[in-house]
Symmetry: C2
Subunit: 391 residues, 2 copies
Amino acid sequence: MAQTDPDGALTGLRVLDLSHGIAGPFAARLLGDHGADVIKIERPITGDFARTLPPLKQDAPFPEQSLLFQYLNWNKRSLALDLRLAENKPTLQKLVEQSDIVIESFRPGRLESWGLGVDQLLDWQPKLVVTSVTNFGQTGPYAQYAASDLTLQALSGIMQISGQVDREPLKHGLSQSFYCAGLTAAYASIMAYTAAQADQFGEHVDVSIHECLASELVLNQSYYAFLGAVQGRRAIVQDPFAGEPIATRKGYLAFQTGGGAPFETFAELFDRPEFLEKRFSSPPEREKRVAEVKALLEECVADRDAKEVFLAGAQKRLLLGVVQSAEDLLHCEHLKERQSFVEIDHPATSTQLRFPAELAKLSLTPTSVRRRSPTLDEHRTEILAQIGRGR
Amino acid sequence: MAQTDPDGALTGLRVLDLSHGIAGPFAARLLGDHGADVIKIERPITGDFARTLPPLKQDAPFPEQSLLFQYLNWNKRSLALDLRLAENKPTLQKLVEQSDIVIESFRPGRLESWGLGVDQLLDWQPKLVVTSVTNFGQTGPYAQYAASDLTLQALSGIMQISGQVDREPLKHGLSQSFYCAGLTAAYASIMAYTAAQADQFGEHVDVSIHECLASELVLNQSYYAFLGAVQGRRAIVQDPFAGEPIATRKGYLAFQTGGGAPFETFAELFDRPEFLEKRFSSPPEREKRVAEVKALLEECVADRDAKEVFLAGAQKRLLLGVVQSAEDLLHCEHLKERQSFVEIDHPATSTQLRFPAELAKLSLTPTSVRRRSPTLDEHRTEILAQIGRGR
């Protein structure tokens, strides 16, 4: 077996990150995590607008306050460059000539309007992969529309099936649409890079956040097309063993049948033989007496903590969903043992930040955080020297 | 510029899909969509357990009823092989020798117990990438626990921040944790493959669905660690312009400030100058009179359809989230123009199935559905002939 290569799987790969916000920068960071050398171009003075996104650290100077920015931009070096100015075009050309992948997230047509369209970039570097991550993609009638995580979740059909049928549709927490599109952009960039290595031709990768959500996270269009039925939100009354969270002494716990253990194991877990009776042990019977089942379950966990019940049940391969909070996650013994978090210095204060850092563990070429997120324009001198010198 | 290569970016790549369920098969399918040759190994008689997952097509014969299976396994050929039997080991060895990537999702330790652990596979093919996609990863105290989409969403902290603060935590629709892990497994496999091409050494990629969710889709651990505040579910009372869906004559519509247009544009959209008054135009003032703002918005959309208002507002770059249903998505003019859906034959009936099919559009090496999902063991003869012949 080979030695571990601490430089990562993509060592030698050069990425130019022209993007801003969440999805594009997350994609570029994932490539950086696997060893790519990533140069981030930001507009002068204000930088990437993600530098203004909350949560903000008030004791840090502008534009170094955003926690989110810190999370999305490690393993990158920063150069401030106004792409709208023709005088900066030669600098960008040099950067592009030394890149394998460009990631950008401008509104479709904007780069072209500055004389920096995909054709121009490919003219400068014919093996280049240009990945565009935008709300609605490069084509189609919605291409120029504004969007947010909320509007994208609504439009993609996810909200329609989330929440309960008697209430409004629900949006999922945080900005998951953007993270999902970022993942997609990262993998599609590498696919295209693999092809460019083989056939010597670069190409344009068009990632639509709307499409990622509509196509990948939901199967409900097919559900409809296939069965003629519209999948809706959850029923109000349902078997408590179908996953509705139950309040314990401390925290919520969801119960679910299936998994590796028979239903009888719940009786064993709580030492309550009632669960073996037909009125509790069969799903159609439970549906008939939801209140009774729920009351019994609540009684079983009233003087226990959700986490403790989860651990006892999990040993028996029961399906128990303990609803973990942020604090729980930071203390989660499993994530701790797997070293899922990294501690990173804040660039402008003495604080240490703790972030989740690894999506996939590669045995020989592990991901790593080699540098914290850059301050705006932090690496101007070294980047300009590097491109002045050529490769 | 080069000609389009209809074979895809990963043409020539060989993938052996030993996985079952959603995450692993989705990862293998994504590689297949980009041109990889994917052989799927299923257990005899029943096949991948996803063949039993709903929605089911009752007029198709077992085990060809599951719509979900059809979605997850196109661009693959199927061979039924019982990996538990020593007599099948030489066949598997031949298959592994002719593969670049193996994707598997067995409980940690199971492949080892059959004499097919990662070391054995790498012994047969030293440049092989073995990607394991499991609930909790290969290591750590939870590694052997059972899990489901629900329990993983709970454990990863997503439920804690989803829904409203006065109600129980909510699970997101469908099985998004698995799709997300599938995406991660696909990109991590290609990263590792790129490294193996460069240094001639394969490796083991360990993807934990729990970790994918906990690390990538939520930033709330950091939120907590950074600010000492626990991010909770949404407040009950909030500005109607913060995204709570409003019922229109037909469908729900969410309103949000920000995006490309100033707040005044809402006044223009509805031809209602009231929105310009301070009590409506400033967020803190709106917070004070939520019921009044909501009533005014409801009045504005009472005799209009959500989609129509969305289109009118989107032209002005307002942020409007029209909550689309499955039916809406199938008729979405934007997805239609972008050709986001494919029509695929059902293998065992004369039905045509319609699925979302593309996550990223690569200009020169487009993804494609070259074959529908296989029936169980459909390609036995050709696969065995192929490996009998050697490469």
